[in-house]
Amino acid sequence: MKTYEIVAKTELAPKEILFEIYAPDIAVKSLPGQFVIVIIGEKGERVPLTICGYDRKKGTVSFAFHEVGKTTKELGLLKVGDRIANVTGPLGKPSEIKKFGKVLCVGGSIMIAPMLLQAKAMKEAGNHVTTVIGARIKEALIMEKEAHAASDKAIVATDDGSQGHKGLDFLKELLKKEKFDHCVALGPVVMMKDVSEITKAFGIPTIVTLTPIMIDGMGMCGVCRVTVGGKMMFGCVDGPEFDGHKVDFDELILRQRLYLPEERVNSVLWEIGECKCGRNKA
């Protein structure tokens, strides 16, 4: 088997894909909380994706992505047996996994996949684990079965209420009833911001996984800088996990959108075969 070859591809929901790739060096060292950088080809960008599984014996590592921009759409076209040009990792600091007691793990959209890796590790460390998985709509909800398997209790929520709770307001009721010692949240920034605000009122330490724009992913460029507790931190080397009660989420939201126009243009140009990268959609 070739390094970076795709050994399994699962469509978790429309446009939400899970890859398992052969990368023995990365598999040996991967831990929950870390990420890889994926490069699709010579002219490709460097895309950070959170690790959501690894099999040290098979030498594989998994990551999931939502087909939203040019690179993720291209990745989505790859099949089992295809090879990705380069995958660098594991990068970033691993999660703190230990016995906290009762742990609440909240995952949103595609980040449910890496959240479940943490939930499993938390359970193995002897915690009582409650997971919350959320999505925009019922059709986009992923890994419900896995969430039940990975945790003592699994709760579903959707933005429109098409499945499970509507929105995250139910969390306040949950936290009034049950006492949690620790919370992790992985998902869209707005979701992590909401979760952090709710848990803050209850004094539950909350770790969020930030996904700012990155290029090198190893501390060189500083584009991933975030403000945490009033200090400048680099998402890639100081994180990607930070204290959710100290993160300046509003700044992060603005910074994540900095290149939105270019990302959209690039995606459209690729779709219509005008991006000149030589990898145009067939």
Binding site: K29, G89, G219, M220, R255, L258
Partner: protein, 454 residues
């Protein structure tokens, strides 16, 4: 040497300096006095036999000239372009005392380019020693150490964290000063010598240095991981959009080729009014790239022109291309628009103080001299420090707590047996050639260590 016209080159990323043709090279080579005690060699950090290769050019024995040059310098096409010869070999040239020194760098470039056009000849390798060496970082220090160690018969693996080899030569120095195809050629040469290059392999995260030595079976390790961590100003507004570290800006433009977006996937957004903060070579590179991307560029430097740390040649090139300099001014804070992009900055005028013990003049702000500037883009080029990942993951490796640099002796030996380091990771941000010199000295010391080890 012929250069592209400033008006033309300020709009393209092609190489500025065009190099000698054969007639020009022969004429320049004929000026060399062939001194009995050549001082130029003394001025060269890697001791290139300068008079020998110049004599070869003179007599049109180019292939022999290449052998002489490459015996000491594995990256002549790079050095001929980016070395500060005016303060090294050429500063020592006797002709410089009475007029113009021999243009050693340009002749070096001529020979290196001649070789690229006529095909590489691989040097002889010593008998295999059975020793394995790991090189961490494929920048100038690592490439030099790798080339020397493999020629001495050791088995060499080079680990590079990025997806392209070359280090600062590919992510930092722009195409118009050092075409990337030239760096790639030098890397190919080193691979042809037999070096096993592993890209996208961040030592410290995949393998730590102790693991390389214990489990990987490496007898010695050279760390040349550079100074990749950007410094910021620590003033309000630094996280606004349109504010780049020099590293981010240069990585986008050079490594990821954002100037060719959307052919290349990584974009860069630059407004019309770019301010570059800083005064070193990196600041000049940022300024010159920005002009090529169509911006009006102002360099903001807190000292005066006389203190600019950049090479004179680079400052002149930049000014010819349209750079405007604002001296004796420092930024105080940045202001953004409703979308979070920078729109203006407040600055304060500075005045020079008396020189300190080292002769460097510090500055102090002039009270009440605040002023503001409208800007769309700011590039912060005030220096880089070593990336801490290796230092954090290598137990027992002694580090300078203030600068984050790895402590080494004059041969690059660290506090750990068999582990050597050199280049920016040991000295803090410096030049390509000083990193190459360090790689060379370390390779020599490592060879002695390997051959004497039981």
């Amino acid at each position: 040497m012929r250069k592209q016209d400033p008006k033309v080159r300020a709009k393209n990323f092609s190489e500025v300096a065009l190099g000698y043709d054969e007639a020009e090279a022969l004429e320049e080579a004929s000026r060399c006095l062939q001194c009995v005690k050549p001082q130029c060699i003394v001025g060269c950090p890697v001791e290139v036999p300068i008079p020998t290769f110049i004599k070869c050019i003179r007599e049109k024995r180019f292939a022999e000239g290449v052998v002489a040059l490459k015996g000491k310098n594995a990256l002549p096409a790079v050095c001929g372009r980016v070395c500060p010869q005016e303060e090294q070999c050429q500063e020592k040239c006797i002709l410089g005392k009475i007029g113009q020194p021999v243009s050693i760098g340009r002749l070096e470039r001529y020979l290196a380019d001649w070789e690229r056009e006529h095909g590489f000849q691989l040097p002889e390798r010593a008998k295999p020693t059975g020793k394995k060496v790991a090189i961490v970082g494929a920048g100038p220090a690592g490439l030099t150490a790798a080339a020397d160690l493999i020629k001495l018969g050791h088995e060499v693996t080079m680990f590079e964290a990025l997806h392209i080899a070359g280090g600062v030569l590919v992510y930092g120095i722009p195409e118009f000063r050092l075409p990337k195809v030239i760096v790639q050629n030098e890397v190919n040469y080193i691979q042809k010598l037999g070096v096993d290059l592993r890209l996208g392999n961040l030592v410290g995260r995949i393998h730590t240095i102790p693991e390389l030595m214990k489990e990987g079976g490496y007898d010695a390790v050279f760390i040349g991981s550079g100074a990749g961590l950007p410094q910021f100003l620590n003033i309000p507004g630094e996280n606004l959009g349109g504010l780049y570290s020099a590293n981010e800006f240069l990585i986008r433009v050079n490594l990821m080729k954002a100037y060719k977006f959307p052919e290349y996937d990584t974009p860069i957004r630059l407004g019309k009014h770019v301010v570059v903060i800083g005064g070193g070579n990196v600041a000049m590179d940022c300024a010159r790239c920005s002009m090529r991307l169509g911006a009006n560029v102002c360099l903001l430097y807190r000292r005066s022109r006389d203190e600019l740390p950049a090479r004179k040649e680079e400052i002149e090139n930049a000014e010819e291309e349209g750079l405007v300099c604002k001296f004796l001014a420092a930024p105080l804070r940045f202001h953004g628009d409703e979308k979070g992009w920078v729109k203006s900055m407040d600055c304060i005028a500075m005045e020079l103080c008396e020189p300190d013990a080292k002769g460097r003049r510090s500055v102090k702000p002039i009270p009440g001299s605040e002023f503001s500037m409208e800007v769309d883009t700011v590039i912060i080029a005030i220096g880089q420090t070593p990336n801490p990942i290796i230092q954090m993951t290598t137990e027992g490796l002694q580090v300078n707590p203030k600068h984050g640099t790895i402590n080494v002796d004059e041969n690059g030996k660290t506090s750990l047996e068999g582990v050597y380091a050199g280049g920016d990771v040991a000295t803090g941000a410096a030049t390509v050639i000083s990193a190459m010199g360090a790689g060379k000295r370390a390779a020599k010391a490592m060879h002695e260590y390997l051959m004497n080890k039981k």
